[in-house]
């Protein structure tokens, strides 16, 4: 098809009247304290730089001075939206290096809670992303569902947001009476609510115009930039750590990995919506298996003071944001020598520059939302 072409030479770009716009740390729709410095020509973005570190708390340094049990609450505060996943990554890493066995029942409960947390995290993403693009009502609806999940968490952990969920070696509490009914009740109402959101957004002309073709990231670019999680899957790479390096009991449940085609914002939206459905299926399967294992132990044999052997380990899980990895170096004492957290949000945020250049200012907001960053994880 013949398309007319306009030549934009380098000179013309440099001669353009550039304006530097600061989407500052205080802004209604950068998710947290993120500062994006945009160089604009009119409304088109020609350059982008992220200034992060407003939420840097030195977690890695602190962890070098805490015992393994004391470190766990710090991980809740990393990605505070999906706290339970962070805890899961941490306790699994320590169990891996220290060689601690976790009872089967505890693994199933852990998976149920982690998948519930994945749904909650995606619901928050949906609400804020839709709100940034203008559909404010979805925010309220998504939080109505998230509220159900947080009630389950409150009943089980005692806390809604930063739950300090798991223990090295299993779980602290057994499930309470009514846990299964509550989770099943949520799984029962959830598909129709998802359908409600899709009715408002999926075929909506305005939504399509705001998200289709925005921020296209090809598979090669995504792999080159180190992007993981739903962003990578939306670019066409069928990869999920739960299938590649199965942990907990993910190799014993059946679920599908949604993959996108074009790598634009719309595909990232579709991938996350489908992931919520798949999480629900995982939860139902685990609940069925759990019935057979109940009652049973939930905590394995753990020494009083955890002193892992000298060595190093890298362990990662599929958190709702991407691949959350921990590189732990132990020197045989009760304190870690080096605890490095591989933050998915930070490395996904690198891709923002590549995605946003050439688009308009309004698209930058949509893109930040579609990468789904949490500044607690970016800055640690």
């Amino acid at each position: 098809m013949h398309k007319p072409e306009i030549a934009i030479t380098r000179e013309r770009l440099l001669a353009a009247r550039e304006m530097v716009l600061n989407m500052g740390p205080q802004h209604p729709s950068t998710h947290g304290v993120l500062r994006v410095i945009l160089k604009l020509d009119g409304e088109t973005v020609i350059d982008l730089d992220c200034d992060i570190g407003y939420l840097h708390r030195g977690v890695e340094k602190i962890c070098e001075n805490r015992t393994y049990v004391h470190i766990e609450p710090y991980f809740d505060r990393l990605d505070y939206v999906a706290a339970v996943s962070n805890d899961l990554c941490y306790v699994e890493t320590v169990e891996k290096i220290a060689g601690i066995e976790v009872p089967e029942k505890a693994k199933y409960i852990r998976v149920i809670l982690t998948e519930l947390q994945r749904i909650a995290s995606h619901l928050l993403w949906l609400g804020t992303h839709a709100m940034d693009i203008g559909a404010v009502t979805i925010f309220l609806y998504a939080f109505r569902e998230r509220e159900e999940i947080l009630k389950i968490f409150e009943n089980y952990f005692g806390a809604r947001l930063t739950a300090n969920a798991f223990r090295i070696g299993g779980l602290q509490y057994d499930i309470y009476d009514g846990f299964e009914e509550q989770v099943r009740a949520f799984c029962r109402i959830f598909p129709e609510r998802l359908k409600e959101y899709e009715t408002i957004l999926n075929e909506n002309r305005i939504w399509l115009q705001r998200t289709v073709g925005i921020g296209i990231l090809t598979a090669e670019e995504a792999k080159d930039l180190g992007v993981t999680g739903p962003v990578l899957r939306a670019s066409g790479v069928k990869w999920d750590i739960r299938k590649a390096f199965p942990y907990e009991v993910y190799d014993q449940v059946e679920f599908d990995i949604p993959v996108g085609e074009n790598g634009d914002t719309y595909d990232r939206y579709l991938v996350r919506m489908e992931e919520m459905r798949q999480s629900r299926l995982i939860i139902l399967q685990c609940l069925d298996r759990l019935k057979k294992l109940h009652p049973g132990p939930v905590l394995g044999k753990v020494p009083k003071v955890i002193r892992p052997p000298v060595g190093e380990v890298y362990h990662s899980i599929e958190s709702p944001k991407g691949e959350l990895g921990i590189y732990l170096v132990s020197n045989g004492t009760a304190f870690p020598e080096r605890l490095r957290i591989r933050p998915p949000s930070l490395i996904n945020l690198q891709a923002l520059k590549k995605m946003a250049i050439g688009h308009l200012v309004a698209d930058v907001v949509a893109l930040i939302g579609s990468i789904d960053i949490v500044l607690g994880e970016v800055d640690r």
Binding site: G53, F245, V310, Y327, G332, T333, R340
Partner: protein, 202 residues
């Protein structure tokens, strides 16, 4: 590889016996390692396997070539850089270590590469191999102080531009002491030695 030297028991260590070590197996018969050794005979200084993860120590000057080989070679296919980080090991003869975690999508294999650096030595940057290394190297420079040669834009990522010191070094104190940036921008002055600031009220 960490050496345990004779010194007073570090904090948190058990007082009775030496701590156990994870089993470390010498990496033999790995075809990719053989190809790598054939191509770069002097690059691989050590090759072991820890908890199932092949860990190679690479010489500093050849790290970029090794990485490019691992990415482009049709049998290695390490097209993904999972993580790049740095460590400060004050007791070792080369106190800084940069650690790379590579991943191959087609083969579903993870590898770890390490580069040991002396004080003041810069590590060649692998940004030209994987763009993912851009911010990760900036963060390693920011927090540990390792410079990367060839990085297009090496400046601090998390801390403010004019911060002094690299916090993840072992000689950087955990608790707040005097800091020039804080005095200039936040009006926080130094604490006198021995000041009681733990917050107890009589």
């Amino acid at each position: 590889m960490e050496e345990k030297k004779d010194k007073p028991t570090p904090k948190g260590a058990s007082a009775t016996k030496a701590p156990p070590t994870l089993p470390i197996v010498e990496l033999k018969d790995d075809p990719i390692l053989n190809r790598l050794r054939a191509r770069f005979p002097t690059a691989v200084l050590e090759a072991v396997e820890i908890l199932g993860l092949p860990t190679l120590t690479i010489a500093r000057e050849q790290i970029v070539d090794v990485c490019r080989f691992l990415r482009d070679d049709e049998e290695a296919l390490f097209d993904f850089l999972t993580d790049l980080t740095a460590r400060h090991i004050p007791e070792a003869e080369k106190p800084f270590q940069v650690i790379y975690h590579l991943y191959s999508f087609p083969r579903n294999v993870r590898w770890r590469l390490k580069v040991n650096l002396a004080e003041g030595e810069a590590c060649p940057s692998v940004v030209s191999v994987w763009s993912a290394a851009n911010w990760m190297e900036r963060e390693a420079y920011d927090l540990v102080g390792v410079r990367f040669e060839g990085h297009p834009d090496l400046r601090r990522l998390l801390l403010p531009e004019d911060w002094e010191g690299h916090p993840l070094r072992k000689d950087y104190p955990l608790e707040f002491r005097y800091n020039r940036w804080c005095e200039k921008h936040l009006n926080m002055i130094a604490f006198r030695e021995g000041t009681e600031y733990s917050g107890r009220f009589e």
